[in-house]
């Protein structure tokens, strides 16, 4: 007979064994990947500006008939509109100059729609004439593009606001606009409108609107009466696909589950799952629709790996061909009647590559092979893929048992145990690092400079389901979320990745905040920090955003404060806010004893520059070794000036080199030195050592 302690031991073991097995699997997978990376040849060091090249091609889009590809080409500071025949032949320039940022085809393929921040422009591409601006976007009415109207040959759906006045409250409306700019009011509502779906006759069959803190989908009957169909409350995510099939709409939603998936609404109001990540890991990332009837054909997921699945046999067959041709890649697909447009993304692939796929013959053709733009605006070259690091998925278990995901980058051909390790923390925090993401290039840059780079998707990150995102429970101080990052780093060190004496932390926005937390509360782990646009007090910054125009940009539809409350961050809860403040780097500036580099933007509308300056002032007063660069024209996402990005790379490399021992940065050229001289506000010991000082006040 078993004793009670033995029973308990067995029970514990029974529970612990699967977890241990998972840990062992994760470790084994990591070791295998590390070994592969180590076996690769050592990469040469590439110049700094090679990581800063930008694509010259953007807005690539396939016509519904699949016979033409439209795109924007930027050259010498001018953006032009081009049309490429899918069957071969030379591209044709349609517009010599445009400020458009996005392109769409009309449903009949006879018009190209050019979206710029202020207007929507229709370009006739079938020789019919009549090109011109058809609608204003933005502005007082906050005109916003919703979709190409799939029920009409050539029309778009816009969402507009009728601002509140003293006499009447705010109202919202859906407006159909044809290519001559004629407007048809489809629906006007006292609630904020979000999304719509049409039936085949062109009638607005479903609409989604904000009701309190919920997104509610209503069926619109033939008399225009609305009947609630689906209520997405408590931050459930829902969005409609443009067309209903047999009167039944498709939804992207996490209703009834944890992961966002493709659902279909039945006539009785029940929701049926059409497709969900077969790996049971990631939210639905993208859906590819049939250009003819709007039926979803392909579903893509981007968790720890990028994968696409055909939703019918034909799509599955074609995807099989593409997967064989582009193994491990993230594929961005657009379907046309004759061709498919294939956008190829990879973690070691700088920029996106474009191909045309003929589904009848299975042939692929590379298109749009224009060279990227260098820092100086001149044609440059993509970095060679063979010399780039690869994004290795990693998973670790937090102290509370939650399984977390992230990615590791290793310099090819190097012993990972001897490498300095950099935790590169993403912003948000409601955001995430996706699989097969080359990204801005900072990770690859650091890898090329000899660092192992760890990108944790801490709890609160998006892309891994609702529970993963909400698991943060508002604990964004020196609490659970920060521990996820710290434990991830320690786990990697425990697996023989990185030198524990040479660990740094780098991040932007929330990542910058995490960096400040790291050098303040975990200085024994993080020896140096580089924080870009960091809020030094998360609670204060949230309150500040709530008063600014940025609030609705973040929460999108639901009022910002309600949205935060649903994310367990109640701005009106003095206890919760007090706790966050008490755990903030701002309140513990005296504890910050690591070399720190701060970046701030004068036009940052999300992280108040006053917070960064106040924090830097506090550190200076305390005699801390801090460096501060302020770009007066930069926003939250940095500056459009190439030299500003180069400055970030240079200074980051300098700080990490001096404290973690990576490769020394190439000294700055005259333009960069000039920029640094004008933008530096505080030069600590590291910048001082290389002769960088702020320009004294005249």
């Amino acid at each position: 007979m078993l004793s009670l302690p033995r029973c308990l031991l067995i029970l514990c073991a029974a529970f612990a064994l699967p977890a241990a097995a998972v840990r062992a699997d994760a470790a084994a997978a990591l070791h295998a990947a590390v070994a592969t990376e180590r076996a690769r040849p050592v990469a040469p060091r590439f110049p700094r500006d090679a990581f800063l090249v930008r694509p010259a091609i953007s807005g690539v889009t396939l016509s519904p008939d699949g016979r033409r590809v439209a795109y924007l080409h930027e050259q010498n500071g001018h953006r032009s509109l081009w049309l490429l025949p899918a069957d071969g032949g030379e591209p044709r320039r349609l517009l010599g100059e445009t400020d458009a940022q996005q392109l769409e085809w009309s449903h009949d393929g006879r018009w190209l729609l050019l979206q710029s921040p202020r207007q929507l422009f229709a370009v006739a591409v079938a020789g019919q004439g009549g090109s011109g601006a058809i609608a204003a976007l933005g502005g007082r009415e906050q005109g916003k593009w919703v979709m190409v109207d799939p029920s009409q040959p050539a029309a778009v759906l816009l969402r507009e606001r009728v601002p509140a006045t003293l006499d009447s409250p705010e109202r919202w409306r859906f407006v159909r606009v044809d290519m001559q700019g004629r407007r048809t009011l489809l629906h006007e509502d006292a609630h904020r409108l979000v999304d719509a779906a049409f039936d085949r006759s062109g009638r607005l069959a479903y609409l989604q609107r904000v009701e309190g803190t919920a997104l509610v989908i209503h069926r619109v009957d033939a008399q225009g009466r609305m009947h609630e169909a689906v209520r997405c409350a408590h931050l459930r995510r829902c969005s409609l696909l443009p067309m209903t099939g047999a009167g039944r709409p498709w939804l992207r939603s996490d209703l009834g589950g944890d992961l966002q998936r493709l659902l279909r609404l039945a006539a009785d109001g029940t929701l049926a799952t059409v497709h969900v990540d077969p790996r049971g890991e990631a939210d639905l990332d993208a859906l590819v629709l049939d250009p003819a009837d709007g039926t979803p054909r392909i579903a893509s997921y981007r968790g720890t790996v990028a994968s696409s699945y055909g939703l019918d046999a034909h799509a599955q067959r074609q995807l099989g061909i593409l997967r064989a041709r582009f193994p491990g890649r993230c594929l961005e697909l657009a379907l046309g009647a004759s061709h498919w447009l294939v956008g190829e993304l990879g973690s070691s692939l700088q920029g996106e590559r474009w191909h045309l796929f003929d589904p009848r013959t299975g042939q692929l053709r590379d298109i749009l092979e224009q060279p990227p733009k260098g820092n100086d605006g001149k044609p440059a070259q993509w970095l060679p893929e063979a010399a780039m690091g690869r994004q290795l998925p990693v998973a670790w278990r937090a102290a509370d048992g939650m399984r977390l995901h992230g990615f590791l980058w290793l310099p090819p051909g190097r012993d990972p145990r001897t490498l300095p390790l950099v935790a590169l923390v993403h912003g948000g925090p409601w955001n995430g690092v996706q699989a097969e993401e080359f990204g801005s290039g900072i990770a690859q840059f650091l890898v090329n400079r000899g660092y192992a780079v760890f990108e944790p998707n801490f709890r609160g990150s998006t892309g891994y389901g609702r529970r993963y995102t909400l698991a943060a429970q508002g604990d964004f101080g020196n609490g659970r979320v920060q521990q996820d990052i710290v434990e991830g780093v320690r786990w990697l060190l425990g697996q023989g990745v990185g030198d524990a004496r040479r660990v740094g932390i780098v991040g932007a926005s929330f990542g910058g905040y995490s960096t400040l937390l790291g050098v303040t509360f975990q200085p024994e782990l993080f020896k140096v920090g580089v924080a870009m646009v960091p809020p030094p007090d998360f609670a204060w910054d949230m309150r500040w955003i709530a008063r600014s125009g940025e609030a609705l940009q973040l929460s999108r539809y639901i009022p910002f404060k309600d949205w935060l409350r649903l994310l367990s961050l109640d701005l009106d809860d003095p206890v919760a806010m007090g706790r966050l403040h008490a755990q903030s780097p701002l309140a513990h500036a005296a504890r910050m004893n690591r070399p720190l580099l701060l970046f701030a933007g004068g036009e940052d509308h999300r992280v108040a520059i006053r917070g960064v300056l106040g924090y830097a002032a506090r550190l200076t007063l305390l005699g801390k070794d801090v460096n501060l660069l302020v770009d007066a024209e930069a926003g939250h996402h940095g500056s459009i000036q190439p030299v500003a990005r180069e400055a970030q790379y240079y200074l980051t490399a300098l700080m990490l080199h001096r404290h973690l021992g990576g490769a020394a940065p190439t000294p700055p050229g005259p333009a960069l030195r000039d920029y640094l001289r004008h933008s530096l506000r505080i030069a600590g010991s590291d910048l001082h050592a290389v002769g960088l000082e702020p320009t004294p006040e005249p």
Binding site: A164, L166, W540, G549
Partner: protein, 619 residues
């Protein structure tokens, strides 16, 4: 008398009609290219100066042509009282001035009113009268200059200076001009006598001539002081133009950059956070809070203290504020057709005060504008051509400017600085509620620089009160730093007393030469004027030494008058009156006594000559 008038009219007919035609041509040309009714103050000042100058020249010429002894004798040798002769000459001159100065303005106003959609308010119909009053004032002053001894006759011009500097507006300004005109008429009548050099004898005539003379002497003293200041500047040690301004003074503070100014203020702060703020100021871009209004527009004012119109390029409409309707009146920029009137909200209500258009607020569409009207800020929505109230300050305050500060708005009134959340500007169109209010720690007129930085927990605001520290109207210069806490609480964290850059005698140079005339000057400048909130100051207490200096000068003046009156042919009451006046008014009165009354012997000889002339006249 009629013949004299007719002859004088005929005499100046050519000149007057020529001036009328030239004036009309100029106005007609300008009316084609600009809206003459909505011109900035400078344009009206230029026109007014020309009218005055033309009047002065006419007066000088007309009376100068009669002033030669034989002509003068001939003129007065008529069976008419001198005042009737004067009235005849003046009547003709004033009539021609009405034709040359006022009639073209009247025709221009009629053209704008009848043939265009431009705004012509009641106030604009007063402009012809104003033009005539100015020209007539100049004319009478010019005439007076010719009817007296050289030493004192130019004193009449001082009344023109008073008109130019008076701060009344609208019909009150016309009343001031009319009063000056009346005084000049009286001066001219009492001066229009056979012996042009004879001093006044009647008490009223004495006052009429002596007071402007004393003011002119006072003005000369001020001009001499000004000249001395110019020499001081040329010499290079004037605080305004030394390379290094006096340490700790108002000038030094004014010359500082906003950042230096804040740091200087923080240097004397004993607040616990001051060291931290110093670091933050050193890192921050200090924002300067500016004014969009530099003068408060007054309803019915003849001129425009601030622009009254703005263009909506998107709609192709120019909106002009109409004082009569208290609404905006529009007309098409191309074609000039009327485009209706625009008031506040759907009810098209009247604005509470004349509006001034400034730029749109951050986040508002490009064509939108903000309108300041009294204590209100309105949003002109170009899309719908509607005007919506957005900010309402407490009644009685004047909204003076709006400055974006980071994500928020700083709104300055004559009494306080307000902060509004930037989000609310964009999200809706309702009235905004201020998050913080900081009373200005001083008077609006003294405020020279208002600088601030954003803190994590509010704002640090520096206010420097140095505007009039160089003169007696201003406050003793100082700088105050306030911490506007996020919860709305305002704490003064530093007050830095600044040093006067100028000695007391310099600052009070307008006062000590004659406290009485200084008071008269101030009274004349403010006569019928609505106090300008932007000029309100908290004057520093007057030093005792200055009072003693003024008293000493008055005593010297009194003693000198005692000595002087004994050497002038004056009656005992006149002597007593002059002695008392010199004691009360000071040196200008003494100078006027000396200028008005020649020494006894000379006066006696002149009296004899004059009586001989008078006895010969009937022959």
């Amino acid at each position: 008398m009629r013949d004299l008038v007719k002859a004088e009219l005929l005499r100046f007919r050519g000149w007057a009609l020529g001036a009328f035609a030239a004036h009309l041509l100029v106005l007609a040309f300008l009316a084609r290219v600009v809206d003459l009714a909505q011109q900035p103050l400078l344009v009206y000042r230029v026109f007014g100066s020309i009218y005055v100058l033309a009047g002065v020249l006419l007066g000088l010429y007309q009376m100068g042509s009669y002033r030669r002894p034989n002509v003068w004798l001939n003129l007065l040798h008529r069976p008419l009282a001198p005042w009737r002769i004067a009235t005849s000459l003046l009547g003709a001159g004033l009539a021609w001035l009405a034709v040359a100065a006022a009639l073209p303005v009247l025709l221009a106003a009629a053209y704008q009113s009848g043939l265009t959609a431009r705004v012509v308010d009641d106030r604009h119909w007063l402009l012809p009268l104003a033009a005539w009053l100015l020209a007539a004032g100049g004319y009478l002053a010019g005439a007076c200059c010719m009817l007296g001894t050289r030493k004192r006759s130019a004193a009449a011009l001082v009344l023109l200076v008073a008109v130019a500097l008076n701060q009344a507006s609208g019909v009150w300004a016309l009343l001031v001009q009319a009063l000056a005109l009346a005084w000049l008429v009286a001066m001219l009548i009492v001066s229009f006598k056979p012996d042009l050099s004879a001093p006044p004898r009647a008490p009223l005539a004495t006052v009429l001539l002596a007071l402007p003379l004393q003011m002119a002497v006072y003005l000369m003293i001020l001009l001499l002081q000004f000249g001395g200041q110019m020499l001081w500047i040329m010499q290079g040690s004037h605080p305004n133009n030394t390379e290094t301004p006096p340490r700790g003074g108002a000038n030094e503070t004014e010359r500082m950059s906003p950042k230096q100014r804040m740091l200087a203020g923080l240097a004397v702060s004993r607040a616990a956070q001051a060291p931290l703020w110093r670091e933050q100021v050193a890192l921050s871009d200090v924002a300067g809070i500016g004014l969009d209004l530099h003068a408060v527009p007054v309803r019915g004012a003849l001129t425009n203290a601030a622009p009254t119109d703005f263009d909506d390029a998107g709609r192709g409409v120019r909106w002009t504020f109409s004082h009569d309707r208290m609404r905006l009146a529009g007309y098409r920029i191309v074609g000039g057709r009327a485009a209706g009137t625009l008031g506040v909200g759907a009810a098209n209500a009247a604005f509470p005060a004349p509006t001034v258009a400034i730029g749109g607020l951050p986040g508002q569409p490009k064509g939108d504008r903000s309108l300041i009207a009294g204590n209100m800020l309105y949003h002109y929505v170009s899309d719908s051509a509607r005007v919506l109230p957005r900010i309402r300050l407490p009644a009685g305050e004047w909204l003076l400017g709006v400055t974006p500060v980071g994500e928020n708005l700083a709104v300055l009134s004559d009494r306080a600085l307000y902060f509004f959340d930037g989000r609310d500007v964009v999200l809706g169109e309702a009235l905004l509620a201020p998050r913080q209010r900081m009373p200005i720690p001083g008077a609006a007129g003294d405020l020279r620089d208002l600088d601030l930085i954003e803190l994590v927990d509010g704002y640090l605001v520096s206010a420097s009160f140095t505007s009039y520290a160089y003169m007696m109207d201003g406050a003793a210069p100082y700088q105050a730093l306030s911490w506007v806490h996020d919860d709305g609480q305002v704490t003064t964290v530093a007050r830095r007393a600044l040093v006067f850059d100028y000695p007391a005698w310099f600052r009070y140079q307008a006062w000590w030469p004659s406290p009485a005339l200084y008071a008269l000057r101030q009274g004349a400048l403010g006569l019928f004027a609505v106090p300008d909130p932007l000029q309100a100051t908290h004057p520093a207490p007057m030093p005792r030494g200055i009072k003693l200096l003024a008293a000493g000068l008055m005593l010297v003046s009194l003693l000198a008058a005692l000595w002087l009156v004994r050497r002038r042919a004056l009656s005992m009451p006149a002597r007593m009156g002059w002695v008392l006046a010199c004691g009360a008014i000071g040196l200008p009165a003494l100078a006027s006594l000396w200028l008005l009354y020649p020494a006894c012997e000379l006066a006696g000889r002149r009296a004899e000559g004059q009586s001989a002339l008078a006895s010969a006249a009937p022959l």
